[in-house]
Symmetry: C2
Subunit: 124 residues, 2 copies
DNA sequence: CAGGGATTGAGAACCGTTATCACTATCGGC
DNA sequence: GCCGATAGTGATAACGGTTCTCAATCCCTG
């Protein structure tokens, strides 16, 4: 419903990259917004369930969240600064479907992420 | 190098699905093979670094491991029993590359997994 | 303004993973 | 064979992210 939940949505709305719960917590606290870590986790979980935010797992297992469009899409993510672009991939959808079918798998789903270095990030 | 590391490779060699470190630990112990959890994690990490096993993150953040072919491939995974098929996806590779280029991202990489229910698993 | 259900948040608990460190196995040279 | 160096092992402690607990609080309704 409301209040700190709006605060969280607000924080995500301004952000182009995926953020962790802990980052959001730190940012909000230093910005003077009193909020509990548990509340952030709860809100993010709810928002993820309703499809209002997308969730992504770091290589280290950490969960990252981002406000995204509601229609199906994938992400192109800068592995340095985190800048994220939503991309469509009709060809990939079809491929996934075909692969599943060919091997006798039904009810197919898929995860696809593309990583790279964006224009603004040095090679380092 | 050896001994318990061979044991771990052996345990993975027989297995078609991705397994967690904890599962391997439990299996080996109940099978009467004395081994430490730390050793398993170390071995899996090494094997992952050398490309001898593939790593996959559960939705809950747990790491799963599987002995796989060394050339580039993706996975078709049964979300019920875990049965896994390695699949090639040249079209997807090319798509990922093109998407990155179109948005000015360089040095592209990507993750692709397809999930479904295999022939042998009921709907439940 | 009172009652009641939902929400909050500090802290404890959890769980997978990694670090610590003493002990052990292995291997090359003598 | 025997020694010493080196790498590997494993019980346990520490860690880090996430979830749970529960008392305090908010907010709506009557």
């Amino acid at each position: 419903m409301t209040r700190q939940r709006d605060v969280i949505l607000q924080a995500l709305a301004d952000e182009e990259a995926f953020r962790s719960a802990q980052e959001l917590y730190a940012d909000l606290r230093t910005a003077g917004t009193p909020i509990g870590l548990a509340t952030i986790y709860r809100a993010l979980q709810t928002l993820a369930d309703t499809g209002d935010v997308d969730v992504l797992r770091t290589e280290s297992g950490e969960a990252l969240y981002r406000r995204c469009g509601t229609r199906h899409h994938h992400h192109l993510i800068c592995r340095s600064c985190g800048k994220t672009v939503e991309v469509a991939a009709d060809a990939v959808e079809q491929w996934a479907h075909a692969v599943a079918k060919r091997h006798g798998f039904r009810d197919p789903a898929h995860t696809v992420e593309v990583f790279g270095l964006c224009r603004d990030c040095p090679d380092a």
